[in-house]
Chain length 357, copies 2
Amino acid sequence: MAAHILVLPGDYIGPEIMTEAVRVLEVVNRRFNLELTWEEGLLGGAALDVHGVPLPTQTMERARAADAILLGAVGGPKWDAVERHLRPERGLLGLRSELGLFGNLRPAILYPQLAEASSLKPEVVAGLDILIVRELTGGIYFGEPRGIRVLENGEREGFNTYVYNESEIRRIGHLAFSLARQRDHRVCSVDKSNVLEVTVLWREVMEEVARDYPDVTLSHMYVDNAAMQLVRAPKQFDVMVTGNMFGDILSDAAAMLTGSIGMLPSASLDRNGRGMYEPCHGSAPDIAGEGKANPLATILSVAMMLRYTLANPEAAAAIEQAVSTVLDQGLRTPDIQRAGVEAVSTSAMGDAVVAAL
Amino acid sequence: MAAHILVLPGDYIGPEIMTEAVRVLEVVNRRFNLELTWEEGLLGGAALDVHGVPLPTQTMERARAADAILLGAVGGPKWDAVERHLRPERGLLGLRSELGLFGNLRPAILYPQLAEASSLKPEVVAGLDILIVRELTGGIYFGEPRGIRVLENGEREGFNTYVYNESEIRRIGHLAFSLARQRDHRVCSVDKSNVLEVTVLWREVMEEVARDYPDVTLSHMYVDNAAMQLVRAPKQFDVMVTGNMFGDILSDAAAMLTGSIGMLPSASLDRNGRGMYEPCHGSAPDIAGEGKANPLATILSVAMMLRYTLANPEAAAAIEQAVSTVLDQGLRTPDIQRAGVEAVSTSAMGDAVVAAL
Ligand SMILES: CC(C)[C@H](C(=O)O)[C@@H](O)C(=O)O
Ligand SMILES: CC(C)[C@H](C(=O)O)[C@@H](O)C(=O)O
């Protein structure tokens, strides 16, 4: 099926990794006759520099018109002094919210070839394969009222609102349960219902959603315990579902368990399966422009896009297979380098994936 | 100096571990002529069963009158069906709040004798010594408004408020900075200031507090990155300071890095240094009554109490030395057991510490 993709390279290493991802996209497009077209747009700091806002109208319009979005990474020290509502991150948050990309899929997978990169003992992480499903358009990220006000005594007070209604919880619940059906049929819902009322409702609605999936087992865990269990015995999890803030924290911890966050893609889906695809890692200002960035997470984001939005599992599998091949060949960017083996550059890694395809 | 202590054994393994801690207290009291007195009280489920509330007036009054409080652990499945405002945890939260115990100190220390208990590689955690300073009486734990309401469309919505004013932030900041002076002079403040306004204020006030401590270095980290860095390279941290919710999550993750959460004490201090001392672990319903619980975290909480509230570092050091000795002797409760070595019981571990004293 023909489809149109908006490519948003973003900031710092964003353009470098995106160049390689687009090369891979070109190859699979031809090889599988996908009839995909794409165009580039500006988001984050890159947009701010040109248009004075992190999410320009043109980008927003093209994003709405596109079938899928491929994003590099946004943000960095160049825009540290910029006013809060103009920060590069605001562009990303705006896109998520405006497009209704409520379902954030963050797999934490340990590549057997990279087992030694983990800071955890091999037996604790070998074979790790968790899927964190994070709610992405609600919770405390978007809750109102919010701000900083001056109290009567002259002191300032900062405040944010953590809020979820039933439909928001139900929607992300259904996504998590249907994804669990394609995996090990287990969902662990993470909350803090012993303290926070909003997560008491979360837990109740998850129980309700679970009734529609008798073949999936639901368990609940407090967020503090979940953080501990991820460190202690991460393989106990299959799908974890949680709110925006807890999902931000836990998915980063889970990604780091694998030791190779430069390898992990993510998907952010709307209710029709349209989505934005991006690496889990950030814009890595410290290595930008040096050809050191690992393009594999972005390349694997292309695979995720093919699987979830473009319904082409073969093309997705071909990319994943190619990535596995280059790892088998021993190619390593600096982030996943092992002692005594020379690291390859961003573009050399891209070359190798293209060749393996 | 004479002082009076309120002992709150709490629920499940609480009474078992407290018995051993009180034996240790008796020994140091005599040996160092401390003139300490103590009495027992009810908190949590234990209080609920007798008085119908998790924090009875008697307990509250005695807690106010005491110089320090020693707590076992509260909560467990027995009270799962109890109404929310009567849950055992409410007793704990009430005590923290009523006594103004805003400063929660959670050390994450790797005992060299237990290095292999960690799920992390030895080189990543060897020598680990982090102090997490968590704000304990504010933030989203206590913020108003909060609750579950019915919207106009008939749907329910849950909401909580994450709020901090300048003095609350300043107070915990000063505590963290003064503690850093007794350590490696580095404070890392954890926030999510790229998204949450309340933590924009947090970051500003931390900068302001830092000016009073030119000998201490302040850095800032987003909470998602902090969770990653704790997994990747925890030894980069000295003191971490953060709010109630983030502190709950990060301190549990940090504790688990050591692989022996059964070893870690904590202190919750008010503005005068009066405090409540308790193990980092919970009430462990699964092993209650079996003599399997590790009493060392509670015994080390006695040491923390002697150091922070009772200003007796020698007595504190004597207890810590005794714990080190029993570990050297190879004594292990099941939670820190190693393959091929028989585990000892809760009381045998207590006996050994008493003997080592
Ligand atoms: C950049 C930031 C706003 C964002 C978030 O917190 O959601 C990032 O950490 C992420 O997880 O995608
Ligand atoms: C029992 C619970 C309310 C408590 C908390 O969240 O503060 C506990 O997890 C802790 O960290 O002491």
